[in-house]
Amino acid sequence: MDFVVSIFALGIPFSVALLLASLGEMFNQRAGVFNLGCEGIMAMGAFLGMLVPYSVGQGGPVSGAYNILGLLLAMGIGALLGLFFGLVVVTFRAPQGIAGIGLQMFGVGAAGTLFRHFVGGTQSIPGIDRLPIPVLSEIPVLGPVLFSHNPLVYMTFLMVPAAWYVLFKTPWGLRVRASGTNPRAADSIGVKVNLVRFQALAVGGALAGLAGAYLSLCQVKMFSDEIIAGRGFIAVALVYFGHWRPLKIMGGALLFSLAQALQLAIQGQGIDFPYEFAVMLPYAMVIVVLAFSRESLLLGPTALGKPFNREMRT
């Protein structure tokens, strides 16, 4: 029982970065834009998120306000990069897959460059502490599993219903879904499709930036070049797996993270299994998951990846 509890207690925080980035990517894709540059945005978010608290505290503890400033900066740069991506793929209508790779390289490279200049070597920071919820965290089993986490963990899980509400119950969500599914129809009824796509890219970018900052401020509590380790790409795959629905995406993120926690726990038990194969597991899982989530586009954003131009007649 303790073993299971520890896996959940470990796995749930692991899922946060994936979940935030996936929710962001979900908005991108729902609006019709496939942003493979998520990884690069997360890297920039991770760097910028830790920059302020690190600079102020020089590795020592800082007041919470600086941490929050770090998170906001990460979201800001994410939104900015999302808009920049929009310029390339929405305004100029460049093919989104390859452009996303460009954004990924740019983001990862820029984060590494800036990190070396402003921080230097690997420096750990106190980051944001866990915030066990009084009383609730004392409950056996449920306490450690659900109520003994970082504040961002609670916030992220609250964002799942929020994202659902925004996507399905607000006028903006309606426009996002229409723009990604049938941009011509949306356009004919007065929705400014490309504007909506830019907005979605900003939102998606901000969430990806936040996801990166969560890694550097809460999970790893430092920055390194490999901090994102493909989570951005996995997040993109999770959106397919989750059929562009927040709840299913959360399920996917949890599945992945629990598998990862299980792998770590097994390692901790000293079972002789090559470490590298354990690390491969999530990546291999992504491929398997993608192989079995085909045909799902039918009820998703059918115009995904297609630039919109009113005058280009097909």
């Binding site: 310029l87 390859i98 740019f106 490279g109 460059t113 800036l114 795959a237 397919y240 590298e276 491929i287």
Partner: protein, 365 residues
Amino acid sequence: MTKQFKALYKTVVILLAAAAAMLLGALILWTIGADVTKTYSVIILEPLKNKIEIGEVLIRAIPLTIIALGISVAYRSGIINIGAEGQMAMGILAATAVALALPGLPKYALLPLAMIAGTLGGAAWGFIPGILKAKLHVSELLSTVMLNYIAAQFYTFCLRGPMLDPAEITMGSGTPQSMRLTKAIWLDRLVPGTRIHTGVYIALAMAFIIWLLLWRTSWGYKMRAAGASERAARYGGIGVAGYLVVAMMISGAFAGLAGAVEIAGVHRRAIEGITGGYGFSGIVVALFGGLHPAGIIPASFFFGLLIVGADMTQRMVGVPANMVLVLQGIIILVIVATRMVLANPYLMERVWRRYQKLTRRDKEA
């Protein structure tokens, strides 16, 4: 629309694109307080100042050329290969395994065998995303990225385990690397005092082969047709899905070969970090070279320069070497956007009309 206007339009667009790329790079350089012009001039000029550095540029251009050739085959066939990094790693492992298993073979047997092994290793790793795309419509963008991570782990596993240098075990330092490979697999050095090796010839030969394949054979013709217009290719009776798999395997094979050449020519053993971003740089080289061997060769020299130059900026102007990744990312973004701008007749027509108005007004004035 006049011919002169079309040429002018094209030139202006490309110049604007180049300026935008430089500016975006400068943005990061300004942020870290670096001297922009000095940084760019160090990157581009410093590696050309002496023989050794030119050699270093060339030995980076070799794998870049080979990988970019493979990526261009895939790209022209309508499938994007982001997985060269992993395919290269698999090529290195396969070539190393052959060299370790058959140390007694003479050079004329072992070297080709190792190259073939590397090629097959990469091809096998390219087959997976190819078949997944053709049969199950799995996005090759995601599957190749995932296969990169898997290959990287497998690579480390091999170097820490089955292929680990016995000397490392006795010394106890445990650096993950294979033992130094037998001389029979070494590619000869060409210019004394530099590391330039005969891989140059392999790269040039491969460029020729790719050119032959794409523009002189019916296979290449059909692959290009499948990539240029899937619909028309299907109409023309071309089995598009099959060619996707073939293209991805060729692409992987080239990355694998690049890996084999890299250990035989430069490192002479498998160690960590050999792939070092070549797979991603190869994408930039392929795009920058216009997806054509004749463009890829100079492009790979240029990006070899960038990589070596970026190593020097740390020492000379305090700009971290990661800057090269930034530049490559920017170049991809700018190239793909520029290609679309150049291919947009609506935009060109609009500019043309405005241009006409302007010139008319000039004449009246």
